[in-house]
């Protein structure tokens, strides 16, 4: 099932699609307004992109340094080659600490690794604590956006969910009241949790620190209360020095939502201080995860995607994402960056994603770290075509197109014949031939003469 098929349900509800489109465009506009407040904005993007390019060339050195510093500070560092190894390490830590209840804050990495189902299968309760993530967790869905996980839902649906799951009155759909109910429910779960799992936004080699940002403070509560903190970090998330954090943190929230900064920007380095009540000493574990990142690094055409700081700006601006919704991508990360990352994980499964794109280039324009997203999407199309991942019909169509387009006479005869036939076919039939393009829109009427003919006629008319 391709992107177009998975989008069908979402686009069928015009009201929802329109709302989704407009609200994300509004977030994009807030990003523009925030960027406009900083005259040095474009220079910041250059600096951030420059730091990331530099980092990609010396990842082993930086991670060794991080490991050394973090270990010296009292953290324990683990290495995971792939998702399975990551999940095993996390489970082993929880098992040896006899943990049954875990609170987790947003981490696309653990989502990518399928950590929740893995732990749940072992009888461990995992509660996603970001409100949007909690909502999709209760609905047994995946997040549809990397920083607004429940953006595909309307308040009524969330009200219904809370009515079922938390006993709120039927029909209650006020965001303030629903949030208050979730807060109460989650506060109890924070207090009961025996371990907190977080993602990582930035790791700092020089100091062995790592930074986690949230607006809700859920990563903070989830690590301030339990004695065990496990942080899962992708290999691409490192920067050399603490000073390097400045350009990234100046860009991140402004690009994401137009805020000047996220509410909580927390810098972890050592296990949390002991409360002094005689319990076992708190522990901090960092799991460094590859899971395909080194493979992406080896691909010159795509390695710059590893610079991504997961701000979501490319999703908010993408005309396809805004109108088709995150679930239509069928990948952990949706939108332009997801369409770049997913085919490297599983080309056969995600071969269609680089085509869910109009190549308008808006994603590359907003990306704070200058990932050349639309160029990479175009490159993926040819890579996937060459490796035989395109459907047979498209391959045939392109072979024919290549022949026709490279021969002027043949092109002229073919388009003449095409116009002659197309003008005589009922438009219903014609729209069928357009495949997904014409599923929800009609082809324009076919002119009697070609562009060349029209142009020649105009030239003649000129005085």
């Amino acid at each position: 099932m391709g992107h177009v098929d998975r989008a069908r349900d979402f686009v069928a509800n015009t009201e929802r699609t329109t709302w989704h489109d407009e609200v994300l465009w509004f977030v994009r506009a807030k990003r523009d307004a925030a960027a406009d407040t900083l005259p040095e904005w474009e220079a910041l993007r250059d600096e951030a992109a420059g730091i990331k390019r530099d980092v990609l060339g010396r990842l082993p050195e930086l991670w060794r340094r991080f490991e050394q510093e973090a270990t010296a500070a009292g953290a324990t560092v683990h290495w995971a080659r792939d998702a399975a190894e990551h999940n095993r390490i996390v489970h082993e830590l929880l098992r040896t600490h006899d943990v049954k209840r875990v609170v987790k804050s947003k981490s696309m990495l653990t989502e990518e690794c399928g950590l929740n189902p893995h732990l749940e299968a072992q009888g461990i309760e995992v509660v996603d604590t970001d409100l949007g993530e909690r909502i999709v967790q209760l609905r047994e869905e995946a997040p549809s956006h990397i920083i607004m996980p429940a953006i595909h839902l309307k308040r009524g649906e969330i009200g219904d969910l809370f009515h079922q799951e938390m006993g709120t009155p039927a029909g209650l759909d006020d965001p303030d009241e629903l949030t208050a109910v979730a807060r109460r429910d989650l506060r109890a779960r924070f207090l009961a949790a025996e371990a907190g799992i977080t993602g990582v936004n930035f790791a700092v080699a020089e100091t062995g620190s790592f930074v986690v940002v949230t607006n809700e403070g859920n990563a903070d509560l989830g690590t301030a209360l339990p004695r065990l903190h496990i942080a899962c970090v992708g290999l691409e998330k490192i920067v050399p020095t603490a000073n390097d954090l400045a350009p990234f943190l100046r860009l991140l929230a402004r690009s994401a939502t137009g805020q000047p900064i996220s509410t909580y920007t927390s810098h972890f380095r050592a296990p949390r201080a002991d409360d002094g009540n005689g319990g076992p000493p708190p522990e901090l574990h960092v799991v460094i995860v590859d899971n395909g990142r080194s493979r992406l690094l080896a691909e010159p055409a795509f390695r710059e995607a590893l610079a991504c700081i997961r701000c979501g700006a490319c999703l908010n601006t993408c005309p396809v994402y805004r109108r088709s919704g995150g679930h239509s991508y069928g990948s952990t990360v949706p939108g332009p960056i997801g369409s770049v990352l997913a085919p490297s994980q599983d080309p056969a499964r995600h071969a269609e994603l680089p085509h869910a794109c109009s190549l308008c280039g808006s994603c590359s324009d907003v990306c704070p770290v200058r990932v050349p997203l639309h160029h990479q999407l175009l490159t993926w199309r040819s890579h996937l075509a060459e490796s035989g991942h395109h459907p047979r019909r498209r391959r045939l169509a392109f072979r024919i197109a290549a022949r026709v387009l490279s021969n002027a006479g043949l092109y002229d005869r073919a388009t003449r014949a095409g116009r002659w036939i197309a003008r005589r076919l009922p438009s219903r039939w014609l729209d069928r031939l357009g495949g997904p393009w014409t599923r929800s829109r009609a082809l324009p009427s076919i002119p009697a003469e070609s562009f060349h003919q029209a142009l020649a006629a105009r030239e003649e008319e000129r005085p």
């Binding site: 390019r53 530099d54 603490a242």
Partner: protein, 215 residues
């Protein structure tokens, strides 16, 4: 299949570590082009109003006309601080004549958990950042870190002499390499996960005041 599954022994992770580092060595691109660092922007002409505006965007409130002895009377809270049963004050921030002093459950807390629910937490920033309303704070203890999150209302005291223009000036001021845990606090806990409607008090404080004191 991993070494662990094959042999059934507990692997210390060295295999994964060396394999990942080897993969990274092999895949590493040529060193990147040199790039320009952004020079740290100067302090704006009117730092107070910019700080207030940015903090306001985060949902926080800047208090500018208060003194070190009367700031509690400038807070916009549902009740006077004296009416709160549970208060945590960072050392040096208490103002007992206005009812701001650590009291209630916090004093007997044996674990961070005992602090919930806390009415008010008062902290002192090491410095604050004008461009985004963030205040840098290093909790003195596990309880203080928890108190800042479990409180319904958060007040942060900061000083005019401790304002920096941007994050570029902020990082050189910290000693991150010696800080087990430190954070920028920039407003109340907030969410917009239900239809993008902004709600303050998602998990932590519902209000946040930043009190700017003269030196």
């Amino acid at each position: 299949m991993s070494a662990r599954e094959k042999t059934g022994r507990k692997v210390d992770g060295d295999d994964a570590r060396s394999e990942i580092l080897a993969r990274l060595e092999a895949a590493a691109p040529e060193p990147g082009e040199p790039f320009q660092r952004v020079p740290a922007p100067a302090m704006p002409d009117d730092p107070t109003s910019l700080l207030g505006a940015r903090l306001g965007q985060n949902g926080g409130v800047l208090v500018t006309n208060a003194s070190a002895t009367d700031w509690p009377t400038h807070l916009d809270l549902p009740a006077s601080p004296a009416a709160f049963a549970h208060v945590h004050c960072q050392a040096g921030t208490a103002l007992p004549e206005h009812g701001v002093a650590s009291r209630g459950v916090g004093l007997e807390a044996k674990a961070v958990h005992d602090l919930s629910p806390l009415d008010l937490c008062v902290l002192e920033a090491e410095f604050s950042v004008v461009e985004n309303g963030a205040s840098w704070h290093v909790p003195a203890s596990a309880l203080e870190r928890g108190a800042a999150l479990l409180a319904e209302h958060l007040v942060i005291l900061t000083r005019r002499s401790r304002l920096v223009a941007t994050l570029h000036q902020a990082y050189p001021r910290m000693t991150l390499g010696h800080t087990g845990f430190g954070w920028f606090l920039s407003g109340p806990s907030k969410t917009a996960d239900i239809e993008q409607a902004l709600v303050l008090g998602a998990h932590g404080p519902r209000t946040m005041h930043l009190v700017l004191l003269d030196d």
